[in-house]
Symmetry: D3
Subunit: 236 residues, 6 copies
């Protein structure tokens, strides 16, 4: 993805993006139920690269399976393009792990922009300390083979009840993760930057004692003018 869009998305919140998508009729783009494995202090931004899990059948999911060089979980880690976010459809099952610290470290080394599962990670305490954003529902120590078989790479999937198409732009902040359809990324990034400027202005005013009605959203000319002045003064 375009570096300029990436930078814009680094500076806005998932809440603001959710509102921008809501205006466009998209109401279910937030990946429900996930949170940061140790908030890294900066947004996660990148195009989605996907891994799909299905329920595990015992005969296909013995530990020896990991010796298979074509095992999709391992292949996903080794082929996720630099700057992309690996998104895993773990069927909202956190009773076993989606991945652990070794794989996530490898993804970090390969330049992955982040990782999201609607299941849970093992070695979560270690992952919390890695320099790559990760999101899950809760720590989960059992090997993924217990519940889930990695079955397909870069298909359209669901994650936390949100639709993910490969290449959609994933943005995570301290609260949540959202999916921006690829074709909307640029306009939504632009709009979110604008919205953020206004929200920052509003927050300042509210801290000074201003009431919300008429200010948020803006329905009064005086606020419009004050905002224009504020933008100039703050170079926004």
């Amino acid at each position: 993805m375009n570096q300029e869009i990436r930078e814009k998305l680094m500076g806005v919140s998932v809440a603001t993006l959710a509102t921008a998508l809501y205006k466009r009729g998209l109401r279910n783009q937030v990946i429900q139920g996930v949170h940061p494995v140790g908030w890294k202090g900066r947004n996660m931004v990148g195009p989605a690269f996907t891994l799909r899990y299905m329920p595990a059948r015992e005969d296909r999911n013995q530990l020896t399976e990991f010796r298979n060089p074509d095992h999709p979980q391992r292949v996903a880690i080794e082929t996720c393009p630099e700057g992309h976010v690996l998104v895993m459809d773990s069927r909202k099952q956190a009773n076993a792990a989606s991945a652990g610290d070794i794989l996530i470290t490898r993804l970090m080394k390969r330049g992955g922009a982040g990782v999201v599962t609607d299941g849970g990670f093992r070695d979560a305490a270690t992952i919390a300390g890695l320099d790559i954003p990760a999101y899950h529902t809760r720590p989960s120590s059992p090997t993924n083979l217990t519940n889930n078989e990695a079955i397909a790479i870069n298909e359209p999937i669901g994650c936390g009840d949100a639709p993910i198409f490969p290449g959609d732009i994933i943005v995570g902040d301290a609260d949540c993760v959202i999916v921006i359809p690829a074709h909307l990324a640029e306009e939504v990034a632009d709009e979110a930057v604008e919205m953020t400027a206004y929200e920052d202005f509003v927050l300042e005013r509210v801290k000074e004692g201003e009431a919300i009605i008429g200010l948020y959203p803006c329905t009064k000319d005086e606020h419009k003018r004050a905002f224009e002045t504020w933008r100039r003064q703050n170079d926004r």
Copy 2:
């Protein structure tokens, strides 16, 4: 699938099959949470043909979408081979329909052996009256577009937390639906027929007042001999 195997599987219960698979280390082959939409009085048996749903994105799931001749839900109905069971991964979401009476009628006319979803059907009361076995979690009137987008045909999927590979043998009775891995179908069918004979014998004996211990399972020679006699007498 082989007609002989089909006939064997028409005469055994899902419970017996579950035990036969349990012996082989397969513990999660029952599709959890589904029941017959009007029990048709005979088992559903056939190889799986699959349809995968993902979460619906609003811009891709307008009603006009059904005008698309390549819409996977419609294509699945029109391409499911005769004698096969259409199994839908509806992500265990029954808030909107997986299909309705018109599509299921069409599937029936095309010779489908049955249909299973881990979501719900609309027009369920009508489907209950059709001459094709159908299984779901509950009736659900909203169009599938509300929640789910049909995205892929004949991939490996999950349904009710069970793993389904295309071609696996699906068997449904009045209680439940089970998935027999294709390569085990013959041996499991044979074994289930044997087990059913013994269970029928046991049930007769229990109705006559026999105690369970030693009889079920059989650990006494006298029961072994009595069973052999019973088989000859009953031509089993």
Copy 3:
């Protein structure tokens, strides 16, 4: 409500109405999770009259409370206008009852058009035999005081995650219950009658062996013409 609209709505399915509302951008109008307490063989149709429950506080919900002539549950039963459907927001809690056979019998005698709760009824087996449609999630014998306090009559409420405003038109069939916003009732009823005609035509054709694509929805002129002929022949 207008008798003509009522009759139209008696003859269409909730599924068809859900699609008509979906076209208008309303996706969550089906009351999730409820089913008929003994299907009465005819649709339930009427404007909503509502009762709201809140969590019960023990000191306010002793059995003596029922001696209070102003207890909102009892008042709701005695004031629900003839032809209306009493809709109860039971907070999706079925661990205690929303009402029992005596109250529902009284509602029937007073001319109520039906009753819906997103909780459960006690004496459900008796209610199943009454000549009034009733919908709930499951039978529940404990008195409502255990969990829920009836607190307000004819406010806007939620029921099974659907929004209900007093006067909205409620329609229930063998599968589900739907809420039609009052201002849309007429146009949706009309459209649903039209859609039903086409669906009946389609079902006939499908039973005769016709494929779905192009027919449902109608994208081919030949089907349009065939439908026009069918309508004339069948007086639809």
Copy 4:
């Protein structure tokens, strides 16, 4: 248990019993989430005999385990006293069976008064046809070994979040199952018979058009007198 109490409890509803216990401060005695496996047309009544399940550990729950003559599930079936209700704490897990048709048939033959699980039965369609009341949450074909190990007989347990002590009186009707603490059985049975008489009187009056307020519960002298007359006339 006393035959007189049993007969009284055969003639009252679980709803009425729930109210009688509610008066005594007992609010959670209904076994939540269970329903009849084929309603047998008469109440289930008897003292509780219990079986407790715990999560299954794979090495202790191979099929060979059933060959153990001391397996608690089998022993429970063979030792449950005549006239008792076997109540199973299946940890509200219905993904595998609590028991199947052979065991329930044996329990019936041994004079069991009924069986309840907060899990599910396999062979439920067959159990529905047996002459013994049975209650569960849903049919479930996998063998109990899959999820649950039978571990203890006749301990205090939970079932459907209700507390069960061995010897408590269990009553099931078409809707629900309730647990009457042993020491309250007589007084509650008596009171429920009285309450049922009044409720039957009320239902008759309501069917004749009487309003509820003042009648149910009775707060008017006229109703008190009318009820006395009705009792005499109906020999209640």
Copy 5:
């Protein structure tokens, strides 16, 4: 509310208050499932001011709706009296936000004593840094319009399955939030202060190696005497 009661409640735990209410027969006064959005190191105490949400209907919940100066969510923020706690019945739905940082900042500026929702807040990371106690179930970025319509102010509501009447006293600590019925606030505050003194004494003794039985609760005279001495020495 009385400043003296407020101060007493600032110094006791929700656990202690729960026990004091339990003695009075009130068992469900803890708001289930919520936790602090960044623990602020001091209790939240104040009378309840309530906001009720209902399921959102799409046509009534467009973004333009926020331009309405009478929108109940905004009005609630601007009218919640100083020193009160704003309690939101979000129907236990955290898939969309109950409010965000701008509104909570405004509430703080207006002197609100805190805010509780049984849904989730957007901008939760920012709210965690504000000088006002806030409790929710999890961060949630989508605008409230997605799921919930603010419909009524200062009605009796449920929150986290607890009953809330306007004016009830809300107390939150690092663990949980509890609702004290208004008429019990004074006596419960007094009793909780007493209980806290004893619990502090007990904790000291236990840390010194004392056993619990006989000490907690106090059933031995020696502990009674020791406690009296301790109170004098510690000025409690």
Copy 6:
């Protein structure tokens, strides 16, 4: 338990142990849904001592019940052997507490190695600061009497859907808690130490840029040799 085994288990992760048990066919030994109440920076290790809760019946669970010196909850705290982990089967119910700070402090003083509940603790913020590992699902202020009655000590139980037999070895780390069957403790501890050495080696290599396939698990001779060298160099 043997001090040497304890030390080995102090140095390995629950994830590694889960894999070692998985190899032995044990897939459900992780206690699902619990996390540390304030991670204490070191593993919790010790044999299980158990407490079983059942649903509370109101007449048996008044506050006065705590005055009973034989109350099983209090007795469990006072009899749990030194070095053991107290594991509570709270039926996965966190609506009321399993225990509070006073009892956990007493357990700590008595030399308990830790405490686990599949419910929640009251006074969790205080427990987080104690020098004893504790695991639960969430803070919960109501007294345990509200929901649960302590009924039996040192029976086999379930906790978080895992099977616990008294004497099984419990290990908790920053992520999860696992149950090692007593007879496997030694061999699993040994194997986990070996696995940990290899995983540490792998993590180092991956941080240096090595790819995963062939390295984890080890399928290449070069990695085997490199690991041997690394062990010698690092004295592992």
